[in-house]
Amino acid sequence: MGKLRFLFALWAARLCWVALKITGHHGTNLPGQIANDLCPDFLDRIGKPEHIISVTGTNGKTTVNNMICDMFEASGRKVLSNRAGSNTKPGITTALINGASFLGKTKYDVAVFETDERTTPKLYPHVKPEYILITNLFRDSIMRNGHPEFIGGILTDNIPASSKLILNGDDLISCGVAPNNARVYYGINRLESDIKECINLINDIRICPRCAGKLEYDYLRYHHIGRCHCVDCGFKSPDYDYAATIIDRKNKTVTIEDKKGTGVYEFVNDSIFNIYNMVSIAALFREMGYEHSDIVEYMKKSKVVESRYKMVKVNNVSILTQLAKEKNALAISRAFDYVRELPGRKSILLMMNCLYDEAHWSENTCWMYDCDFEFLNDDNVREIVVSGPRARDYRLRLLYAGVPDSKIKIELSELEGAKNIDFDKGDLVCVFHGVDSFDLTQKVRKILMERAEKL
């Protein structure tokens, strides 16, 4: 009976998938939803690849997940993933359905699933990853995720005992997840740019997780990312199993070392955030038995998703559209910091409004006072156009950050913002947008490119 119900659910979900395709709908959740509704133990019954990798964490999981998929494909392996769909239980169920035969047997030997942290209680009891890669744990959406300690607790409660963890050794929050599981740590050795005291508004590890004593940082990169020790009890950050030892910005390479070997990898992107992503991926592949020389080649064939970061140059005007995930103070701070470091004169358009919330209630703007808008208070910033429903809030926050009112322009429409932002040849125009506004961002980019063309 159970088997029949499973097959019925599988075929119904397949039929739904076909119907969605024919009618031009995306709908990566619906087939999985239907299957789980019709057959509550569907996920236990569906065939699964022998090797399952789950990529979770606050920031960077989509980038890491997609790079891992690219790299497996470059290695000639057929990889099942949810990269085209959602990272929740229905989305991952849909991916498994798509990877299964008519009778529910899997056609793949490896799967890579980007996994939303809050989905893990519903997923991990049924889909037990061989490896779980955690990029980092930071403050995220206040409404959904509360705080990173809460998310770390969810992961600890739900990670299967058999899963091996690939953890960021420079992030003490994720280091504390599922302490009884097998694990390896990755990280980046001390950099010249490292500091000792946090300059960000968010630092979620200020006290020792063991004794609540004061933590002293040996070096700090941003927020709580770095290495530290407790002045009271001697607790300290773990040693790395996989370390980025040399970052050569001139030649755009990073050297990654472990006990058994060394590889020199080409940058996929020069931000520290993406170098962490690279080291985490190298650690995973090394754990799976690959040689550095092979991983280097596979990584060359992977890329950061363009919709998240796109730089175009038109008539000597650089136009950068940078994802700054709405309501995520930390992700936006990182994006601000990255742009701050870029050379030259800049004009900035802020449009990372949460359009979904705006349509239903109103965006909770508390994140703005966790986010380092102070990074935009820079002599190289010529003008900041604040746009969308939260334009006034951005203005107040920028004034609070010390940006002169004379540099701030309010345009409630994002498109008007693109039409009226000031720039000249040689300038960088940077557009910070959210996930909700990918389509709108394309229109904004088009307007900016047309204006640049006419200069």
Binding site: R139, I142, M143, R144, G146, H147, E149, F150, G153, L201, R206, I207, A212, G213, K214, D232, A329, D357, H360, W361, S362, N364, T365, C366, W367, M368, Y369, D370, R392, D393, R395, L396, L399, Y400, D405
Partner: protein, 240 residues
């Protein structure tokens, strides 16, 4: 003027600490220099042996952090009661004020004993986060804000705000926050003072300021006016 901030190393979620920085800058607009005294978990609070602080502030904290706060404040329970009775100004935001109540009930029914200075208790449901926009009244003033929490509170209390839209300390009551003399506590999180210029002016006066010009006052009033108008739109959803 002195402001004591309790345990900023952990009581710092959701931008809450910017309330104090905003207050400091606003006092400065009026020619008043403000000394911020940060009290860490393992040090004796300034209030334990001083009376000259104009305000004692504590912000939102994690659930584990609440227990650390309780351990840190327990030795000073009588002193806190004395200060509350004497009319010392406290501002406590988010879930931080729950530690002044009787206990916190966890998902598994376990009760974490608290300081017992308020006749309230909190019920925590970690997988049911409550999110809401909030509009309330403080006397004639309108209050706007955001709530995002794992708990609701019950018991006997005199509210700080009367709810216009949204819920009070729990969904069955309209009273929001707690007021005992000048002990002011609210579940509202984040930049409460930045988003509520009239209330901030009131607080400045309560702390002894003779004038109440605010930092970035024009922009803050612009944001406040529009947010109030937006939150009062009947078709706008309140809870999430």
């Amino acid at each position: 003027m002195k402001i004591e901030v309790l345990f900023p190393e952990i009581c710092n979620l959701y931008g809450d600490l910017q309330n104090i920085e905003y207050l400091r800058r606003s006092f400065k607009e009026n020619g008043v220099d403000c000394e911020i005294i940060d009290t860490a978990l393992k040090t004796e609070p300034y209030f334990a042996s001083h009376d000259d602080m104009a305000l004692i502030y504590m912000g939102t904290v994690t659930e584990h952090g609440q227990e650390l706060v309780m351990d840190a404040l327990k030795p000073y329970k009588d002193r806190i009661r004395e200060l509350m009775d004497a009319g010392k100004v406290f501002l406590v935001t988010g879930n931080a004020w729950e530690v002044f109540g009787e206990y916190i009930e966890c998902d598994d029914g376990r009760q974490i004993p608290c300081l017992g200075l308020l006749k309230t208790h909190a019920v925590r449901r970690m997988m049911k986060r409550y999110n809401s926009l909030y509009v309330g009244k403080f006397g004639d003033m309108d209050i706007v804000g955001f709530k995002s929490q794992f708990t609701h509170s019950y018991g006997e209390f005199t509210p700080l705000f009367e709810t216009v839209r949204g819920d009070g300390l729990n969904p069955e009551v309209k009273g929001e926050g707690i007021r005992i003399n000048n002990f002011l506590a609210t579940y509202i999180i984040g930049p409460l003072l930045i988003l509520n210029p009239p209330f901030t002016k009131y607080l400045m006066r309560l702390c002894g300021a003779e004038s109440d010009k605010l930092a970035y006052e024009e922009a803050a009033m612009d944001v406040y006016t529009h947010r109030l108008e937006e939150f009062m739109q009947p078709e706008r959803g309140l809870t999430y």
